[in-house]
């Protein structure tokens, strides 16, 4: 069987959040919101197909880099908006620049889908699909499986996002 030998390089994450679609959308694309949870690095989107995407290092990251003896670049993730249908769908390319290993890998493809729950009113389903063909170092980083690496990856980021939208505070606050 062909599927037995095909390495699947896609990761899928899903979380249910008690918040309206528009609020979850803003939490992803608005730097005033997206700098508050997860790695707390603000992300900037030019919200049109072909528009640029970048995430800049937070002061905490730069301080950490200096203390650990390496330089953290100003732009830590870059990419491009591929498809957009607010507040339901965002497809973008995504490349992590913080480590030389991930910066040398091809752009990955990241899809955010936000839909209202059919059974629970007021609850939305957020699905993050990260297609990481040819990008094993990036894949290990975002999966949070790399012990020496950068924390909990997508599962941790989405848990923190849910916490922020439902309780008003994040783990770091």
């Amino acid at each position: 069987m062909t599927t037995e030998t095909t390495a699947v390089t896609t990761q899928v994450y899903r979380v249910w959040i008690k918040a309206p679609q528009e609020k979850i959308w803003a939490a992803i694309v608005d730097p005033e919101w997206n700098k508050r949870y997860g790695y707390a690095a603000p992300s900037f989107f030019d919200l049109k197909p072909g528009g640029s995407y970048s995430s800049t290092a937070s002061q905490a990251m730069k301080d950490f880099g200096v203390a650990a003896g390496f330089e953290v670049p100003d732009t830590i993730v870059d990419g491009e908006v591929v498809e957009i249908d607010p507040p339901r769908l965002l497809v973008q390319t995504w490349r992590m620049l913080m480590a030389p290993t991930t910066a040398a890998e091809p752009f990955s493809r990241l899809t955010y889908e936000i839909s209202e729950s059919k059974t629970q009113p007021g609850v939305c389903k957020l699905t993050v699909t990260h297609e990481l063909a040819g990008a094993p170092a990036t894949a290990a980083m975002v999966a949070g499986t790399d012990e020496e690496g950068a924390g909990g990856g997508w599962a941790w980021v989405l848990s923190d996002l849910k916490s922020m939208l439902e309780t008003g505070s994040t783990f770091g606050e």
Binding site: T3, V8, T10, Q11, V12, R14, V15, S159
Partner: protein, 106 residues
């Protein structure tokens, strides 16, 4: 039933934990692939996958004609953040280390 209840119920079964471990080793498998590793009918495996999907621990994604099963670690992360952190993760880690050390000796 709350979301947490569904996750705990799903994790309470050894076959379902085994399925999650299989997906952790290699993600995005078909029912046929998962079925081949278990001494169980296709219907039985599908039923267990249904419970895991309902708890959000498995997400099904279509790829062409195939239905691929992906491990979704977010509900486990939520339980970790909600329960483990609360009851001092440091102590829990110490006990897990002790258990591993003692079991390695035997």
């Amino acid at each position: 039933m709350t979301d947490d209840d569904r996750v705990f119920k799903a994790l309470a079964d050894p076959t379902r934990r085994f399925l999650l471990d299989l997906l952790f080793q290699r993600d995005g498998r078909t029912l046929t692939e998962l079925e081949s590793t278990l001494a169980m009918t296709r219907f039985g495996v599908a039923k267990h996958l249904g419970v895991l999907a309902e708890a959000g621990l498995v997400v099904v994604r279509r790829s062409g004609r195939e239905k691929l099963h992906f491990l979704n670690p977010v509900p486990i992360r939520l339980i970790h953040d909600r329960w483990i952190d609360k009851y001092t993760e440091r102590h829990v880690t110490a006990l897990v280390d002790l258990k591993n050390a003692l079991e390695d000796e035997s």
